[in-house]
Amino acid sequence: MLERALNGSKNYWIWMAALMSVIGVAVICYLYQLWFGLGVTGMSRDVSWGFYIAQFTFLVGVAASAVMLVLPYYLHHYKAFGKITVLGEFVAIAAVTMCLLFIVVDLGQPQRLLNVIFYATPHSMLFWDMIVLNGYLFLNVVVGWNALSAESKGVPPPKWIKPFIYISVPWAVSIHTVTAFLYCGLPGRGFWLTAVLAPRFLASAFAAGPALLILLCLILRKLTKFDAGQEAIQMLSKIVTYGIIINVFFFFCEVFVACYSQIPEHLDHLQYLFFGLHGKGALVPFMWLSMILMFTGIFMMLVPKIRTNETTLAVACVAIFIGTWIDKGLGMISGGFVPSPLHHVNEYIPSILEIVITLGIYAIGMLVLTVLYKIAISVKEEAAGLS
């Protein structure tokens, strides 16, 4: 089916060329990082994880959101999602690919990464993260590809796919939970040491992922003859609404625990993020922006007139996506490391090279997604007798 991605309009090829040029520049930058070391980034002894790991953490959530289509459709026979489950699975593939790339790019000795397999260490959460991420990628490739392939031949998907589909549901929850467990089991990091971290990751995933899916469906409707259907989009928007409300509620719970107990170990990180600490507050405007975006998103999604109007829905989805991205992709990592365990405040700001490499990986994700969606849409348009 891959050859379907090779037939495209002029705009399609311009888009692909643009993505490839971004990727090309990023690859050169990464080769420089390989040669020089991770010192080209903005990371430091005190803030030893930065943009790359933050993007990985955010994208794990986006990847898990495929389950929000699979669960209603396969377990509860919600027919309206039938057309778009494969789109969700393809988002998962693109997102997990980016996750893995962000991890590789963050390693100090990436050519040794197979050590995680050779010297398997089950008491390390990174070991399990490697397993669940690669497993989830495998699941989505197998299920998505075979389901689409069956659709292109006009037959129902093969029966042996069913167990993989059922496994993918708890597996999606596991990729999130294990990623949260990377953070919430570390004794020295009060900002992350909270039982609600894993549930919060899940909630923000179920807000950000389906929001992205809605946006993609709307884009597909504009660019192709494929229409996901009003019912599917509206159900997705309801999922986003619940997801974002629960995410903000969990965050409010964390704020209460820190601010009411007033234990410095927990409070100081929130203070740094939202008000600055010892004169350093680079993230303050971003955190407040994130709050504004998420609350605006909630308000917009709660008002039926705004939610059902697809233009305003798109705006709300963008607001929610960016709001949750700032929350996880900027605030979470820096918040955990600042102040340091010795109560020093050394800030982290990503370097230009770091941002370019990050954009390159996002471009790779978009490339994967474009190719997969091109194939999917071509199959679906054919199946619907429209092309």
């Binding site: 100090g108 995680v116 004794p187 365990p341």
Partner: protein, 264 residues
């Protein structure tokens, strides 16, 4: 499809060759030069003078340490011996042992009316070689591991540079090589390996000196301010100091079981 089979064969062969060629290129860029030398201190395990213990620990006598010269001497001895580089960019600094004020070494135990002596005393901080080390729990390759005698060591050749151990350490004891450290080593000490970029490092309780019957470098130059020994040995100096003095440890409530004690 068997049409153009020769063409498709050449295409696949070409891509394969490019793919095979990619690994050596990225390896060279990533590894930044490998130093291959025979071990300068010989086979460690068979030495006659090996200092053995069931549980190594250190006591820092803060009053005796309160001379800047002593603090400086301890740090220099360690960093010189272990080829710890002097990085020019503070973000990339590497330190195995260094000086902190009380409020930074013991955050949470500081208060407004702390004695002037404690407030201004230099506190030497280093890896605590915890009994229950969270860094060892976190490491996905066991590049960071705990020896039977309690010392938490690092295998610099296995480390993939993921820095999970740095996130896990509640004491900020670990440093990462953000770039090749070798140009920043003033005088290379041949008896200890230098590290490559992209790996984490920290104090190793001078395991290589213990193996030949010597005390850790910092202890040796500390003029009695640092006491080192086997907690399991009732007659060791560390046990005697702990038996007769009140000592504090960093972040004791976390359950890590740090083995560096501070006699204040």
């Amino acid at each position: 499809m068997m049409e153009n089979s020769r063409r498709s064969f050449i295409k696949i062969a070409g891509i394969t060759a490019a793919g095979i060629g990619l690994k050596p290129v990225t390896d060279v860029l990533a590894s930044g030069g490998v130093q291959k030398k025979t071990s300068p201190i010989g086979d460690v395990s068979s030495g006659n003078n090996v200092l053995k213990a069931k549980r190594w620990a250190m006591v820092v006598d803060v009053k005796k340490m309160a001379h800047e010269d002593t603090v400086h001497a301890c740090i220099e001895a360690c960093h010189k011996l272990h080829n710890v580089p002097k990085m020019t960019n503070k973000s990339h600094e590497i330190k195995w042992i260094w000086e902190e004020e009380f409020k930074h070494a013991f955050p949470g135990q500081h208060h407004e009316h702390i004695s002037k002596e404690i407030e201004h005393a230099p506190f030497l901080v280093l890896c605590n070689h915890c009994e229950n080390p969270p860094c060892v729990r976190a490491c996905p390759t066991k590049a960071t591991f705990q020896r039977e005698d309690g010392i938490v060591l690092m295998d610099f050749h296995r480390c993939i540079g993921c820095r999970f151990c740095m996130a896990a350490c509640p004491y900020g004891s670990r440093s990462f090589n953000f770039r090749d450290p070798r140009p920043f080593i003033e005088e290379v000490e041949e008896k200890f390996p230098t590290r490559m970029k992209g790996v984490v490092e920290k104090c190793n309780f001078c395991a290589e000196r213990l193996a030949v019957g010597k005390q850790p470098a910092c202890v040796e130059v500390s003029n009695g301010a640092l006491i080192f020994g086997d907690l399991d040995d009732e007659n060791s100096e560390v046990r005697k100091v702990l038996d007769s003095n009140y000592v504090i440890r960093r972040k004791p409530g976390l359950g890590t079981g740090p083995q560096v004690y501070y006699k204040v």
